[in-house]
């Protein structure tokens, strides 16, 4: 079947089998390998993307669900327009050592960005509750929580400055 959607701001149209998962579509057909597959069983959150602005697990999403939708992947995150900078949440992960191997990071960042957009400045409890669906095997989470709080504050400050 033919599906049309907006992918990281660009109109996209592809022919897919209805049983194709969005992870496979992104990684194998659209060459967007930033979306990772950790568990493939809906547990780990390495595959989180934003579907119409809301974080979802793309390993548990069939391609037909994209038809007519807006999809944002980690590749579509950007810093200030024209600046060629990292997104404030990515910058915060770098500054605060919020990653080690980096495998979980795209999903962490996508979940964190949505959380910050939803709630503004975040408390530690909100961050921990919000990251329940994202697993990291390296960091012990401490620095991820610090990163997300810092990233949310930076996003909030950037918005206030606009």
């Amino acid at each position: 079947m033919q599906i049309s959607f907006t992918l990281n701001g660009r109109p996209t149209s592809v022919d897919v089998a209805p049983s194709m998962l969005v992870t496979e579509l992104l990684r194998e057909h659209l060459n967007l390998t930033g979306t990772h597959i950790g568990c493939d069983t809906s547990q780990c959150g390495a595959c989180v993307v934003h579907l119409n602005g809301a974080p979802v697990k793309s390993c548990t999403l069939l391609a037909p669900a994209l038809d007519g939708a807006t999809l944002l992947t980690i590749e579509g995150l950007q810093g200030a327009p024209g600046s060629n900078r990292l997104h404030p949440m990515q910058e915060a992960f770098r500054e605060n050592h919020g990653l080690q191997c980096g495998f979980c990071t795209p999903g962490m960042v996508m979940t964190a960005v949505a959380l910050a957009q939803d709630k503004g400045v975040l408390t530690e409890a909100e961050v921990r509750h919000g990251l329940e669906g994202n697993i990291c095997r390296c960091t012990g989470y401490q620095n991820i929580v610090v990163s997300v709080m810092a990233g949310a504050a930076a996003m909030h400050a950037a918005n206030a400055g606009e």
């Binding site: 079947m1 089998a17 209805p18 049983s19 998962l21 493939d40 069983t41 809906s42 959150g45 989180v48 579907l51 809301a54 974080p55 979802v56 697990k57 548990t60 999403l61 069939l62 037909p64 669900a65 979940t111 949505a114 959380l115 919000g130 990251l131 329940e132 669906g133 994202n134």
Partner: protein, 270 residues
């Protein structure tokens, strides 16, 4: 995953017809349970019938005595609904504790109710509030709907369109999460109505059930102390890698007390 045909009907009768046409085909709502099942090849339906294009299945409405939640309303939408938070905050709180944010953005109330996982949260809310399950064919009282492990009163080809909840005087939900899955090891929903109290337990056994001795005691005095000494029988409880039946029985009393406490200090879920 085996290949399947994919239908996106625009009207409920059309969806019912498609479902009847191929007996093993499956409805798909949020897919958060169905897609993992397909991946594991525990099911290989010839066709999926996607409910997302059907009109009128999303959102929450109310009248004097009830709130009705459309089948395709996601857990995130229920958790955020100002209507649900104002009138049955315990139900919004229940929805806000399901899985994680990504699961809540896709998973739907009726997918959960139709699936009737023994550790799912909604069955406790639906049974505890004496809700009515509305299908394309009839209305079914919660007391007659849940039939044990993944079994419900739904007939093949029946589609749930909404759940209607009576608004209680007070209600509370307390869940002891299994730490890895976040499903309920034990979850207890307590609701106080003018004509009595209902207590529904999920996670503890092969399906959601009520606890009449607790309901009696709480109807006499709606206070955690009223049920502190009531311990449920372990006979029909689950023992597995996560917890022995004994421990689950203990948790039922603890969670029921917490649910009553939550109901007494009820405020909109944050």
């Amino acid at each position: 995953m085996k290949a399947f045909a994919y239908h996106q009907p625009g009207q409920i009768p059309e969806a019912a017809k498609l479902l009847a046409a191929e007996p093993d085909s499956k409805l798909v709502a949020g897919g958060m349970t169905l897609i993992p099942t397909l991946k594991q090849r525990l099911a290989s339906p010839p066709a999926l019938i996607d409910l997302s294009k059907l009109p009128g299945l999303k959102g929450c409405t109310d009248n004097d005595a009830t709130i009705t939640i459309g089948a395709m309303t996601t857990h995130a939408e229920v958790a955020k609904s100002s209507l649900v938070r104002a009138r049955i905050p315990a139900l919004a709180a229940l929805a806000s504790q399901i899985g994680d944010p990504s699961v809540r953005n896709r998973g739907t109330i009726c997918g959960s109710v139709a699936n009737n996982d023994p550790a799912a949260d909604y069955p406790a809310g639906v049974l505890g509030l004496a809700a009515t399950i509305i299908t394309n064919e009839r209305e079914i009282a919660a007391d007659n709907f849940f039939r044990g492990l993944f079994e419900t009163a739904l007939k093949p080809g029946e589609i749930i369109t909404a759940v209607r909840f009576p608004v209680p005087l007070l209600a509370g939900y307390a869940k002891f999460k299994a730490p890895a899955s976040r499903y309920a090891l034990v979850g207890v929903f307590v609701a106080k109505f003018r004509d009595g109290v209902r207590v529904a337990v999920t996670g503890a056994g092969p399906g959601v059930f009520r606890v009449p001795p607790m309901e009696h005691a709480l109807s006499q005095g709606f206070d955690p102390a009223s049920i502190a000494a009531i311990r449920i029988d372990t006979d029909n409880l689950t023992s597995d890698i996560h917890a022995e039946a004994d421990y689950r029985a203990h948790l039922v009393t603890v969670m029921a007390k917490r649910a009553v406490q939550a109901a007494l200090s009820e405020r909109p879920a944050s």
